[in-house]
Symmetry: C4
């Protein structure tokens, strides 16, 4: 009856006949009218992106998205707020977040944050929920934002709302916004095509796989990423063939290591959006913590706060040199090395490498190995 | 040779083209002649349902089933008994339960409990084993019970008993009882159809999957729930097509989170029966403990007592607002949010959403994530 | 290329249209010319069977096999030896076993043990390796043994030995022995048929699955039991059809609970051989420990000693009433209850019940449940 | 879409109709012009092979490969260096390795190490990366090396390098070297054939499976070994059929027990290369530690140091008698016993034994067994 869907942990990449030196690989990609050297985007989460992160990641060749409905636009002085979040005990976390989010969003702070990013030489990519996009889209565009992300756990072009609410018409919004709009998240061919038809300049793929996201447990919803990316990438290719319009697909959620990023691109993604790997940077606003953006809902809190620690500088994490050997440092180096090893000159070739289904399940043998590494390692 | 059966942990739900605001979803369902707002039933277990729970859950729009062969109908003052169960040590549990169940069931207490539920404004749904149903069915109906559940680990319409025993004829019982009768548990198409033909007003589905049930270990018996529900739902639809009689299918056993409930309905269930999630309510008779009803057998104790803790009020667990973010609070909110996210307006539409096979196996990557959440979380 | 083989942990049994009271089930079976009420045999292991166990299990309706090459036939006073094994430290175990097995086997002790079993009213079933069978077969038969097991990790009818050694001809041995001979272990249709043709009165099935057996790790050899039993049972049925001779198939290795036993019979076994469940009996010679018989090899020790504890009397374990609810007490009761629940009147009908593939893998949900049971249980 | 690939942990070997005494098995094999009694090669890793190990393994009938770009050829006195590696803390390991590898490789030390091995009566097999092979191939051959391994995580016959670098032409290198050249690693039929056409005297198979190798996590690259070996062995057989040239296939990476070695050969390997099993020898240069050779990269450290402990002498590990019963002692004895049990007289017959897919996944039953072994074992 139901089809089998595969996760990133269940696949591996297979080298072919050619290899090439990593220095010969080209990781360039384009989203909207913006070209970037590195196909990695920092997630629109309080613990990951603030003005400083956005500017720094832009300079390094990547991209960061600022959440227009988070701490940064509710508080003029977010640093003290972030200190409180980092110091509250486990049990106090959900109540604190519900309290902090009771403070209203301030349009003037939206404009201010965008301008601060621009002043530091950054690309101002910003994000809001569909409801928030209706309210703050114009403010953001006027303040000089470069890219706008409309992002919900699950987005659709056919949203039924209560009569009292006028829902966001995604097609109309894309058309009216003077800047490129990225839409997500979705996991199927059909929805991806619909978002592209609505005018998306990029589509986010991923529901349920994230470390700080418990929607699969709470709602039962989620599609493993390898299958979701492959389906949405097929939608992109068909849409491109029919319209000549190439809409990049961005894998979002649950990615931790360089290997995860490589596998997403091999499944068909043009870029990836990551949260927890950047939350480990010394400069990250989370101060060693990471939490989902769904937490503040007073009715149904989802997401949780996890202590990811601070493992290095943002540069070490993104472009190396690595101090750690577990795949969480030098994500770009990992991508370039993987591309070289697989013989892929650029992102389009990387999307064509051979993939095998090879679950890294916890077998007895692996438990034995892990025991050696963890229990006896010093 | 053998077919592959899937569990609830092995599937996930896939969003489609439409989404809708949770406030527009309708979770109404009907069992026998009773319409309920919430398709959740509290299990007929000593640790889950007493008079107060039954009344309160009725008022909240759900339903609870009182076990006619448990503590409540053996003891006039069950509170002291429940205190003893909650305070006995692990090793003393089985002997204590065997001792407590040596006390006979008192028909006058059966009548009294039913009347107490009615007096508090509740719906009096009661349950007994097939043997108990023969003995106490009439008493319960006369006392004003609204619904009668005949429930055994495995029920069949063809039961061979020793000559000295007259077995319960399920068809005759359904016909003679003046109130609707629900039958279970079963796991296959054929048995589900037979129970419907016998006159069931509802069929319980689930053998072996429950947290406080060890029948798979002890007896080797059990069918994973996703497959069992899908098969019995197919039986319901075929029976409905042929007879015009719609007999709801209720998934029973092993459900812990809101996501589990959503997945059962997506597999075809009309409602669910849950025990451990309600055992965690402050008002639950188990006082933070939960145990299976098979325990008292002196020959072959099955089921075990587990400490589930008290995590909130009954309202928080059933209708929110949630204090926990792990899917165990606000089960109705989770169902409505999931339905909205999946574009399902009502239970019938929720039964049609797309399901994928996506085992949430413990892969190495997930162990890594868990280690971060558990080991490093604060 | 290779076919998928399934283990006992990967299957479950499905109830059908009929159920029956456990008291109506008949678990009788026949091996050689011996009829037994209970289809369970205690393994020929030092930690499981001595004279007392053999006699007691015979009286209870089951069977036990005494190892003719173990402690019992090397030492006139085995109790002191067993005390030493139970008290040695973990590191000293393998050297101690190598030392203890340097003591030669004494034919007069073989005869004495067999006579002791008979004097206590027991059935004297004994076991030896192929080499040991050559040497001690006649002694055992003369001393009054009732059944002879020729047992090796892997047995074949075509054994190539060094020139200096005359290998045991299994067919000749079966013909010349005045008592029935059981042969094993095997895992495939073809070898099972060959053993039957060689004159086996029973065939043992199982290579690699046992708790105290590490042959899969050491040798890479092993076939999951559900598949092995099904294949060998098919061999039995075909051989029976062709020759009229019914040779029972006995599942041997890795069985822990009543549910495991039920599943083996449902896969086609006529009986089971178990070690560790009986090693937990107060009367067991292992004194709470259990170890494999392959340990003493000076070249390649296999098997290991595990502490299984003493969990009850032999009667509690075999025929109940159970004190534990984890499936390790009242194995016969579990089998009869499972047969009743599945509608099987006798072993032949139990071999026909429906089996589904339903791996009880450690999913995230189950880890959650286990955490509740283990971590929070009291 | 993608094909399913299987790991060594997911298969098991099936006994057939014949068995034979282990003393009758013949494990001889040939690589280049060298015949060896034991088809096991020690990996070219600092923690595994030095002059003494190479000589000793040669005398025992096996083979060891000395890394020409490791500690041994950078330092005249490597013992003090190895002491430092063994005593540094976990956090200091990567920086220390980066520092130690900053010391240049000395051609005169290459010659000296080869001569030392020869003087001790050993076979001098040496290894370098493709770049190192260009530089040091001639030196090694002139110094008297017997076998040359060109080894990279992934090797290909079509390597694209930056213009400033002249890449190693593998075919030319094989032709010009006066000694046999072994090439690797690869995982597919096509690349294996290409390496054979390039003149390889042996092909190493294995990418990503090793204990001290994190390329799957860092790069997403890796193919489970059972599938990789079977594919490359098919390439060998086809190439042999077409050219008459038999190029042995060597399984490399992730092998821990004797059973692992048996399974690789049953999948089609002619020999195996192992690291961590030998790192546990008292004589091993790692002093109880084991680490990957990819660690020193300043840009992207891969591999990690694990504490494997010292579990016995080299003889105990390779040829027994075993002191441990977990499959890590007496690897040759395990292979001969497995071959005898499976009825394989020699390596070619061992490559033909039946394989089943039988994942030794962590099922609930196994966790129960493990708990008994680990938690309650003494």
């Amino acid at each position: 009856m139901a089809k089998r869907a595969y996760g990133i942990d269940e696949i591996a990449l297979v080298p072919g006949n050619r290899t090439l030196d990593p220095s010969l690989t080209d990781t360039k990609w384009r989203i909207g009218n913006i070209e970037r050297e590195i196909p990695i985007i920092a997630s629109a989460m309080d613990s990951v992106v603030d003005v400083r992160m956005a500017a720094r990641l832009s300079q390094l060749g990547a991209l960061a998205v600022l959440n227009l409905e988070g701490i940064q636009t509710r508080y003029a002085e977010p640093e003290a707020i972030l200190d409180r979040i980092a110091s509250v005990g486990k049990d106090g976390f959900v109540p604190l977040m519900q309290e902090l989010y009771a403070e209203p969003i301030k349009p003037n702070l939206i404009a201010q944050r965008i301008q601060e990013i621009k002043q530091l030489g950054g690309i101002a990519a910003v994000s809001a929920t569909p409801a928030g996009s209706s309210k703050y889209g114009t403010v953001a565009a006027k303040a000089g934002a470069d890219l706008f992300f409309v992002q919900a756990t699950v987005v659709s072009t056919a949203y039924l709302s209560p009569e009292s609410v006028v829902p966001l018409d995604l097609a109309q919004f894309c058309q009216e916004m003077p800047i490129p709009v990225v839409l997500g998240n979705c996991v199927t061919y059909e929805v991806a095509v619909n978002l592209m038809k609505a005018g998306a300049s990029g589509v986010l793929v991923g529901i349920g796989p994230g470390a700080a996201c418990t929607s699969r447990g709470v709602l039962g919803i989620g599609v493993p990423q390898a299958t979701a990316i492959a389906d949405c990438a097929a939608a992109r290719d068909d849409y491109h063939r029919e319209t000549g319009n190439y809409v990049p697909v961005i894998a979002d959620g649950g990615l931790i290591t360089g290997g995860d990023i490589c596998k997403c691109i091999a499944c068909g993604a043009d870029g990836v959006m990551i949260g927890s790997p950047f939350a480990k940077a010394a400069v990250a606003p989370g101060r060693g913590y990471h939490w989902g953006m769904a937490t503040p809902s007073p009715l149904l809190p989802r997401g949780t706060r996890i202590h990811v620690g601070t493992t290095g500088t943002l540069e070490q994490i993104l472009t190396g040199p690595a101090q750690l050997d577990d795949g969480t440092h030098n994500l770009l180096g990992a991508l370039k090395t993987s591309m070289g090893t697989l013989g892929a000159k650029n992102i389009k070739e990387m999307q064509q490498v051979e993939v095998v289904i090879a679950p890294s399940l916890l077998t007895e043998g692996k438990v034995y190995q892990k025991a050696q590494q963890l229990g006896m390692g010093k």
